[in-house]
């Protein structure tokens, strides 16, 4: 019974906090400028992040990663959230986990090719992202309408994908499609492959997402990843923990910023924080932060058998709690809270996006209770 970080974990946390301090450190203008680039993030920061090893963290050692566990993932994502980091870490971790999981499933013929892609990814040289969501599916991970039909040595992919996170700048997509035997598989598709029509757009947090239309896209058979929907669900659980941890970081950022504000800002001749209603509302927010932390820790420490359930539960709880704290933070800041000039609004918008990662709070709640 010990919730202290190990020395290694503390070092990891310090490394990410250093990255945040050096790269952002309260410079909202620099962050905004990075968001306005076509990629939606800073290439320089991305390279530095890769150097910290963060991108290699959850990848197994045999695939060239650091083999970090859930606690390490939590530590990193919380620190990134607290730093309001704009770079596509979550998207990369998802893609890396899929490639890594696929590599481990079979020593497939295509392993070398996938390993090379993975290595480039975690080095920060290539951006790969999952293209799975379809409009008809809403949050149902098992609903895939895109098809992959074999034709000789190749496979032909047709369909449409939406809400492809970081899809505006990705070099490769991991595209889910339904194979002729009705199972769901994943194929690596280059962004510039013929038949791929990418339409970039911005999400609330300023990130560059994309819609894809896939018309007769031809990929080599061995571009398929081993492992189907089951692998995706495993990765989704990890992604939910990561999203919950990042939201926890955002909650602490929102809470601490707001607490400082109500202590210094005065109204009607008194500090805002001396009004009992403000005190109780801040107390409610504090309770949410602590309870959210408990859920994230719970999921990070859950044994494998219960991990998917715990991660879904943490995601469901934290998504609602983070939104509530973000709304409180906006309200407490008054007029300034609704501008783009404080971290508050940016954190709210990032929470909105994370809250929908691999389904909204209700979808996660349903997974949680069905697994119970």
């Amino acid at each position: 019974m010990n919730f202290d970080l190990t020395e290694d974990q503390a070092m990891l946390q310090a490394a990410v906090e250093r990255f945040v301090a050096d790269s952002y450190g309260g410079d909202l203008e620099a962050r905004r400028a990075a968001r306005l680039t076509p990629a939606g993030f800073s290439a320089a920061n991305w390279a530095r992040l890769a150097q910290t090893g963060v991108l290699a963290l959850p990848v197994s050692e045999q695939s060239g990663g650091l083999g970090g566990g859930h606690v390490e993932l939590m530590v990193v994502m919380e620190a990134l959230g607290r730093g309001l980091v704009a770079e596509p870490v979550l998207e990369t971790l998802v893609a890396a986990a899929l490639l890594d999981g696929a590599s481990q499933a079979h020593a497939a013929a295509n392993a070398a090719q996938h390993d090379a892609l993975l290595a480039a990814m975690i080095a920060g040289e290539t951006l790969v992202t999952l293209a799975h969501s379809e409009r008809e599916a809403r949050y149902n991970l098992a609903h895939v309408g895109t098809t992959a039909r074999p034709r000789g040595d190749i496979v032909v992919i047709d369909g449409a994908k939406t809400a492809v996170l970081a899809g505006g700048a990705a070099d490769h997509f991991i595209v889910s499609a339904r194979a002729s035997d009705d199972t769901v598989g994943f194929w690596i598709v280059a962004a510039d492959a013929p038949g791929v029509d990418r339409r970039g757009y911005r999400l609330a947090d300023g990130s560059a997402a994309a819609e894809l239309t896939l018309r007769g896209v031809q990929v080599a058979r061995d571009a398929q990843l081993s492992g189907g929907l089951a692998l995706l669900l495993r990765v989704a659980a990890t992604a939910r923990l990561a999203a919950a941890a990042e939201m926890l970081g955002l909650m602490t950022l929102l809470f601490d910023t707001t607490l400082s504000y109500v202590k210094t800002r005065s109204q009607f001749g008194k500090a805002l924080g001396s009004f009992q209603v403000i005190q109780h509302r801040m107390t409610d927010a504090y309770v949410l932060v602590e309870q959210a932390r408990s859920h994230v820790v719970r999921a990070a420490l859950a044994p494998d058998a219960g991990f998917a359930r715990a991660a879904a539960g943490a995601k469901a709880f934290v998504a609602e709690a983070a939104l509530s704290v973000a709304h409180t933070a906006v309200q407490m800041h008054g007029g300034m809270g609704i501008t783009d000039e404080l971290v508050i609004g940016h954190a709210l918008k990032r929470v909105r996006v994370l809250a929908l990662t691999f389904g909204d709070a209700t979808a996660a709640l349903d997974d949680y209770r069905r697994a119970a």
Binding site: R135, R138, T162, A163, L203, Q267, G334, T339, K349, R352
Partner: protein, 402 residues
């Protein structure tokens, strides 16, 4: 008890409906519906005001002597409701509802002649100089200073949250003309030209990327004494009149109900991802129905106030809760709209406008594109015009006697 409209009122309603059907262009309806922020752009608003002015209906909130319509409270309600249901652009609050009535009530004949007609024609566009950095909901603490210098005041200070200052050629402004009396007593109500040296406008961009409000720096800016409304030191009284003037009849619910209808239709075609449409998901349908119950209660509360006004009585304490309920409900509706569109609800285009041919292509649908910016702007409802916290303080004190 009787909540029906009289035959004369029904005839008036039909007259308004016919007018809207004939005279309100689709382009303006689209402009209204395609605006995620609280105020429509002048480009949309002014065109509609010109149409209303031509019909003689623009100054309906003003006394008859200065061009008002002389409508009964019920007629005003009917007009506002029909306009809301027809997606008519919202009218400029600043000129028509705020400074216009103040000039009509406190202005000299010369001031009335000088300013009122130009509000109606749209030749003058107004902004409001009330809030200051550091004063927020606490008006009495304002610091902008106006020093008399012959037939003019020299004004120095900073105003913030100034809606459409970047379009306005005039500002009505509260400034401290006497620092030596108690805070409320030393304030005057001045009209200031925006197109003069010393007026600097800093845009404040909202979370959704909209430019509605500004910070306005006033450095040795001139305000003519002839453009002071009321006596020196009467600013606080005028500001209070203006506030009370705002608290007459209210007509927020009809538009909310119309939006819930629209949302219900959209939800009926949104995929749920499992079985059929999102609108048929019990949980979702119940959430929507609960919001509708809130909106229907609000509509009835507004009608109860109207009932008081229609009997020639002062409205009861219900008026004070309408802003509180309406703004909170507005936010809950906008939250549900964002959620309705699933991942499509996350898109946030920062180009403006989002209506018309130049607007960016939406992901999924136009309503999906509007959802997130509307939701983000909507956080302002419980902050501006007296935050929810301030509203509750007021109700506790004035209505509950606490």
């Amino acid at each position: 008890m009787d909540m029906s409209f009289s035959p004369a009122d029904l005839a008036f309603r039909d007259e308004v409906r016919d007018f809207l059907a004939d005279e309100l262009p689709q382009r303006l309806r689209d402009g209204m519906n395609g605006t995620p922020s609280v105020f429509v752009e002048p480009e949309i608003g002014l065109e509609w005001q010109r149409i209303l002015h031509a019909r003689g209906w623009l100054a309906y909130q003003w006394p008859v002597e200065v061009g008002g319509t002389g409508w009964t409270p019920v007629q005003r309600y009917i007009f506002e409701k029909e306009c809301a249901l027809a997606d008519a652009p919202s009218l400029s609050v600043l000129g028509l509802k705020l400074v216009g009535p103040v000039i009509a009530r406190f202005g000299t004949p010369a001031q009335k002649a000088r300013f009122l007609e130009r509000i109606l024609t749209g030749d003058d566009l107004w902004c409001q100089g009330y809030s200051e950095p550091g004063s927020g909901s606490d008006l009495a603490s304002l610091k902008t200073r106006a020093v008399r210098d012959g037939d003019r005041y020299i004004v120095n200070g900073t105003k913030i949250w100034t809606t459409h200052a970047h379009y306005a050629n005039w500002m009505f402004c509260l400034a401290r003309t006497d620092p030596d009396v108690k805070p409320q007593a030393g304030i005057s109500f001045l009209l200031i030209r925006m197109d003069q040296p010393g007026v600097t406008i800093r845009p404040i961009i909202g979370m959704a990327g909209d430019h509605e409000v500004n910070q306005v720096f006033l450095d040795d800016v001139e305000a003519l004494v002839e453009n002071r409304i009321g006596d020196e030191g009467q600013g606080w009284t005028i500001a209070k009149y203006l506030l009370e003037n705002e608290r007459g009849g209210s007509c927020a619910a009809p538009r909310l109900l119309a939006e819930l209808d629209r949302l219900e239709r959209m939800a009926a075609t949104q995929p749920s991802g499992t079985n059929g449409a999102l609108g048929h998901d019990t949980d979702y349908a119940r959430r929507l129905a609960k919001l509708r119950l809130e909106a229907e209660a609000l509509e009835m509360t507004e009608l109860r106030v109207l009932g008081e006004l229609a009997q020639g009585r002062k409205p009861g304490p219900q008026t004070s809760l309408i802003k509180l309920v309406a703004s909170t409900l507005r936010q809950h509706v906008d939250e549900l709209i964002v959620e309705t569109f699933g991942y499509d609800g996350l898109q946030l285009a920062t180009e403006r406008p989002l209506y018309g041919n130049e607007s960016p292509e939406p992901i999924g649908s136009k309503p999906a594109q509007l959802a997130m910016p509307t939701y983000l702007n909507s956080r302002a409802w419980t902050i501006f015009g007296g935050s929810n916290e301030v509203q509750k303080n007021i109700i506790a004190k004035t209505v509950l006697g606490l």
